[in-house]
């Protein structure tokens, strides 16, 4: 059974600081997703990482994937208040065959950025 664990589950940051959210998963996968969720809202797709060593950046967020370590990181640079949200990683297996693109989610990391 695929398990996905995020840490930390709660993250309180000061504006301007850097931090990293970690996502570990238990079985082989070649697809790693990061999503953002604002309170009461749906999930917004941030990144899809498809291969070992993949790195993607958008603004102050950068995601990377190490398939050998079964680890993805979401790095936040110079945090601003607008980044306050819950961040989820999700692990998928290739669509087709018996996997059909199903995702298993981590528990989510609640990020709060303080002035």
């Amino acid at each position: 059974e695929l398990k996905v664990e995020q840490n930390p589950l709660f993250l309180s940051m000061q504006e301007g600081k850097n931090y990293t959210i970690y996502c570990n998963y238990s079985t082989t996968s070649d697809r790693l997703y990061w999503y953002r969720q604002d309170p009461g809202k749906s999930l917004e797709s941030l990144f899809v990482l498809l291969s070992n060593g993949a790195v993607k950046q958008e603004g102050r967020l950068m995601a990377s994937l190490d398939t050998k370590a079964r680890l993805s990181t979401l790095h936040i640079t110079a945090a601003v208040h607008d980044l306050s949200a819950t961040y989820f990683c999700a692990v998928g297996r290739p669509a087709g065959g018996t996997s059909y693109g199903k995702l298993t989610f981590g528990q989510g990391t609640i990020l709060t950025v303080h002035p």
Binding site: S42, L50, K102, Q107
Partner: protein, 115 residues
């Protein structure tokens, strides 16, 4: 461009009443479709997925059922709601695996409260 709709946005239903939630996707053909539930707290759980009309797979045994009467329509139903069915229900879609597009996008969600 593709869009995904869900309705209703919010719903309050008594225990024992029936349920029907609808999800439609525009701007794509033969998508994979998914129903997730997010209970109070944070975790998302995959309930059902569908790779084509009339093709439904259930991930967990429960009080709910799903149907896909048309290519871009996905319905979540229950004959008799339980208190434990309360939650935030999210529909998601993924492009036909043959397209090579890997992102999975979520609808705006339906917040269900069973009283």
């Amino acid at each position: 461009s593709q869009t995904i709709h869900q309705w209703p946005a919010t719903l309050v239903q008594p225990v024992g009443s029936p349920l029907s939630l609808e999800c439609t996707v525009e701007g794509t053909s033969n998508p994979n479709l998914y129903w997730y539930r997010q209970a109070a707290g944070r975790g998302l759980q995959l309930l059902f997925y569908s790779v084509g009309i009339g093709q439904i797979s259930s991930e967990v045994p429960q009080n709910l059922s799903a149907s896909r009467p048309q290519d871009r329509q996905f319905i979540l139903s229950s004959k008799k709601l339980l208190l434990s069915d309360s939650g935030f229900y999210l529909c998601a879609w993924r492009a036909d695996p043959g397209t090579g597009v890997h992102e999975q996008y979520f609808g705006p969600g339906t917040r269900l409260t069973v009283t």
